[in-house]
Symmetry: C2
Subunit: 134 residues, 2 copies
DNA sequence: ATAGTGCTTCGAGTTTACTCTAGGTCAAGG
DNA sequence: CCTTGACCTAGAGTAAACTCGAAGCACTAT
């Protein structure tokens, strides 16, 4: 089974522009073409696109993803680098999750204030300047 | 106790440029000035800056944060809107955390492959084209 | 008095990641 | 045959969020 760029774009919630842009930037150095030059994505390619989306959605820059892609096309010799990169990135993702949890707490405390204005009294000892509760 | 823009920048890991930019964009419509025109941050202001950072770090755009700031200076009449905005944003943050957890799983599975190449055999039935394991 | 430090504004420049336009090729259907 | 639709490339344009440079006050220390 193979897929057109349009199908892949729909599958991953990207635009075809974005997919071509990723290709142009070297994030997909292996997508095949049919006889008229159109990109043809295989199942394996879909897995790779999923990985690119994963890295992008977790905050890795296009440049870094390209570095990873380049290492992957280089073959086995870059396995250590790739592993190290993923391990470092993993740490960052864990930190992102922790930070989001912390920020969620602050948001929740603000929501609590809005839901129970008496809390504001206790927290701030009355209304702020310009009635700015949070 | 009060703080200069430099102290606040250090406290929050922002640059003074960024703080001034936020001020210019209307994210801090209340910071006082001393007699020579320099910004003076109070403890209350620090709490507000923390909230701005929280919203920014959880992906809210400057424009949206400004809307929130405007509502806050408007006074009590906008409490419902603010509460709704924070509740909606809270949902987004929860979704971000969920998505990060999913992406973390994928990253972990790739790391596992690097740590145990036999896994790759089972997962992919041998090496990919161009020895691209993941 | 003058040099240095830290603040000010305004506006221009930069980076990142798209996003779109123009003009073109190719294969199928009427 | 010709139109339609999906694809192609190259390159220009855009939005967001900074980031920086220039020029200038105000206070302090020598």
């Amino acid at each position: 089974m193979s897929y057109s760029i349009n199908e892949v774009a729909n599958k991953f919630g990207l635009s075809v522009h974005t997919l071509r842009y990723y290709d142009k930037e070297g994030l997909m150095p292996f997508i095949g073409r049919d006889k008229s030059g159109n990109r043809v994505f295989t199942e394996t390619d879909l897995n790779w696109v999923a990985m690119v989306c994963c890295l992008k959605d977790t905050g890795m820059s296009i440049k870094e993803i390209k570095k990873y892609a380049d290492w992957c096309t280089e073959g086995m010799q870059s396995i250590d680098e790739r592993k190290a990169m993923l391990a470092a990135h993993r740490k960052q993702v864990v930190k992102q999750i922790e930070d989001l949890h912390k920020n969620l707490e602050l948001i929740d405390s603000k929501i609590a204030v809005y839901e129970n204005p008496e809390l504001a009294q206790r927290l701030y000892g009355g209304l702020d300047k310009s009635a700015l509760i949070p």
